[in-house]
């Protein structure tokens, strides 16, 4: 189509992202009069809802129980774990007034819920027999970000924060839970065809209050890296701070062990970012609000036009019976080209065009959103062919996304080369690392990049030397320009 506004997905990614979330009516950002807060529009809401279903579909069978805690956390609760509050102090929103009265106790808008959940667990959990216990909730969290905000990526109200909180009777069981959580996140991202790197974050970059943090990162189309999930072993830090004790198997009393892990709005941002092209979204079929759009292509006299629209509706009904989410675009006064544009931007995986001449041959045209290749399919084979098309589109998305990630991770030895790669095409570079914080921190500065941590599980680097101190490397350290 001539004259329509489009943005370049890869070469001008940040503009593309801002364009497509408005064009496809995903998320309205920048007009609501509070910085860093936006609106989930109807189409975006439906994508988000299906992604939440994917998350629940993985967590629930593993024994996670969904709950809902209050938004407001009293100041003294939030301050109970000292490292935790130090990590969040500068970015907590405080409620100070109810009506015209000042409150006795300041209330924080939750930045995360370790403190309120641990507090309540002291009432609920008394014995190892109740463990492991796995709670989660999907809620808004608030962070008074001082960095530049970005829609769905760096918000002051994160509206889709899935936070899981678990309790265990031993360090070993908490370690097992970390593995389970990592495995769960892999499955969630696999279902969304999102590629990831799993890294153990450097100690200076772990979650405030955790023993250590394992993070999932992905590479966005502009080569910048986005953190898309984190898993924390909290040890006994919070249970000690709240004097939360349970009876163990040997009848002694001790503070139990905890983990927590989170996924945010970024999971939706990533589905949008990773699977796009210059025309807009390309949605994996399992999260597409509309999987098949049927577009009648009317021609000839009124009678014939009417028949085409009726036939399009009949085909749609048949596809619905076969279990697909189908929309018929029978808007009058819109040309087929404009409709194509509309549904391509919204990433509908498969389009079915129903035209008069083809109908006479008992056929319709099917086009997949990613390849845009069109082919004729006999009407009686349509449901089966669309099933295959959705499945192969899904596989192509998955392959394309993982190829992109692989081509953006470079194992290097030279700092100079690493700097060049990070400046030219970004992505992730891995350099040998001796294990000393100061060497990685020096490279963060030299490279103008962030240390993501070392590969998890840890990867050996035999025969390699730390490019800073020259000592033998124990693993590789990842660096990237991050969002």
């Amino acid at each position: 189509m001539a004259g329509v506004q489009r943005e370049k997905w890869r070469s001008d990614f940040p503009r593309w992202f801002d364009w497509i979330i408005r064009e496809a009516e995903v998320y309205d950002y920048g007009r609501y009069p509070v910085k860093g807060m936006g609106i989930w529009m109807p189409y975006g809401f439906q994508i988000r809802r299906r992604i939440i279903d994917v998350i629940r579909g993985v967590l629930d069978p593993l024994g996670h129980e969904e709950v809902l805690f209050p938004l407001l956390i009293p100041e003294d609760l939030l301050r109970r774990e000292s490292e935790h509050i130090r990590g969040f102090e500068d970015e907590v929103y405080w409620v100070t007034h109810g009506g015209l009265e000042p409150l006795d106790v300041k209330l924080a808008l939750r930045p995360t819920s370790e403190t309120s959940i641990t507090y309540m667990e002291t009432f609920w959990i008394h014995s190892y027999k109740q463990l492991p216990k796995k709670y989660y909730q999907i809620v808004s969290i608030f962070r008074y970000e001082t960095k530049a905000t970005r829609p769905m990526i760096r918000l002051r109200e994160v509206t889709t924060f899935k936070e899981a909180h678990t309790v265990h009777d031993s360090f070993e069981d908490a370690e097992r839970q970390v593995l389970e959580a990592i495995d769960a996140y892999k499955r969630i991202y696999d279902e969304l065809a999102i590629p990831y790197l799993v890294s153990r974050r450097p100690d200076w970059d772990k979650f405030a209050g955790a023993l250590y943090t394992i993070a999932f990162d992905t590479v966005l189309p502009d080569g910048r890296v986005l953190q898309i999930g984190t898993v924390h072993n909290l040890g006994q830090n919070f249970t000690k701070a709240f004097d939360f004790k349970i009876q163990l198997r040997d009848e002694s009393l001790d503070h139990p062990w905890q983990t927590s892990y989170g996924i945010s709005d970024r999971v939706v941002a990533t589905v949008i970012a990773i699977h796009g092209d210059d025309r807009g979204l390309i949605l994996p079929p399992n999260v597409a609000p509309v999987q098949v759009v049927v577009i009648p292509i009317p021609s000839g006299d009124e009678e014939r036009k009417k028949r085409v629209v009726e036939e399009a509706k009949r085909i749609a009904e048949e596809l619905r019976s076969a279990g697909y989410r189908v929309h018929v675009d029978d808007r009058e006064g819109e040309r087929p080209g404009a409709k194509f544009y509309h549904w391509e931007a919204r990433g509908v995986p498969v389009r079915v065009e129903v035209g008069a001449r083809e109908l006479e041959k008992g056929e319709a045209t099917v086009a997949a959103r990613d390849t845009l290749e069109r082919r004729s399919v006999p009407l009686d084979r349509l449901p089966a062919e669309i099933g295959k098309e959705l499945e192969s589109l899904r596989e192509r998305l998955h392959r394309r996304a993982w190829e992109w990630l692989s081509s953006n991770v470079a194992k290097l030895r030279s700092v100079k080369e690493a700097k060049r790669v990070l400046e030219e095409r970004r992505g992730v570079v891995e350099l040998p690392w001796c294990g000393k914080d100061e060497c990685a921190q020096k490279l963060e500065e030299d490279l103008g990049a962030r240390a993501l941590g070392y590969p998890w599980p840890r990867e050996a680097a035999e025969g390699e030397a730390c490019p800073v101190c020259g000592e033998p490397a124990i693993t590789w350290m990842r660096y990237a320009k991050t969002y």
Copy 2:
């Protein structure tokens, strides 16, 4: 069972309610250190989630689109409609600080979202061609209640506020929407087997900023009345305040018309309250997290006990294949009686007991939660019989609930009699009304009750006289002791 704690559902309702929401692990209230805020526990969360599904199932097919707006509303936006802010001023929570810095503009935790939604609609809606538009969201709202708080009934954080907001090109279309909303709410409550009275609220009790308010009320087991839903015709009050104009069919520009309607956590409270008994909850099958609990009744030697448990699991699997939500309670070391108690409190509609002797006869025992009547059913007829049992339980709940409501509405002529009824057994009394506010307000005082408004649609009261001024009555006014 001897020695277990139970509370009287009808004769000691408030204590019963507090007991059962904790006993059945629905909602933890009174321990979280902020007044008026509680925690949805896993079992309660699942009930709530299914009730939300019922709401969505009614609203979505009517063309309502789900969205998600920010929690925080800047002060100037909230103050734009003057009656509205007067109605909410005393009960708004204010965020005044981000981190350690004071904010430039105070931010309100939304008490409701007319202002933020109307503000954004000015960007989105420009023409009558886009109308009617129906948005809704399901969110937490916050009210700094000065009245006594009650779990799920009068909260400071209402966590399940379904608020719908619609836009229309004429007053008439907004009136049509009011009818659609009332009809939608009737269907939602019918699906939950909750009886209701529909009243047009007195003008002094309408929503702040509305032309008028239609309300749904129900009578709780203690005879007190609970408002469970409201529908407002907002007229042009908000569109004028925000100078929101659209192009009309005749090409002129004018402020569009709006409605809004809301349902809260009280819908869950009502399902719990209305369908209980002294043993606990009785859940309608469509919102029960577990519809059928299968309990093995082991006896005899180990081999025989094992066979009973295996058979219980096989039966459960078969019932699952038939589409029911089934749980097998095979906990060891718990006696069957304790298990009965556990699942009765949680309101599971049907219990299947699997015992060795019955198995030999190819039978199991089925008991419905409401009647507690037990009967033997041949195993091969179990799936079909359970379907019938769930359906008839649902009908019994519906009938019992509506009979309760009907028996608690009294049409009276004498104020003295009305006062006696309201004091002795509460419920709703209807007295003839002349149409003057001051007469109804006088009776509110004399009766120590709240005027709920007149029946909607308005019911005539021919030949009746207002008991206050003696003038001819134009309709009936409802009075009740309310929550």
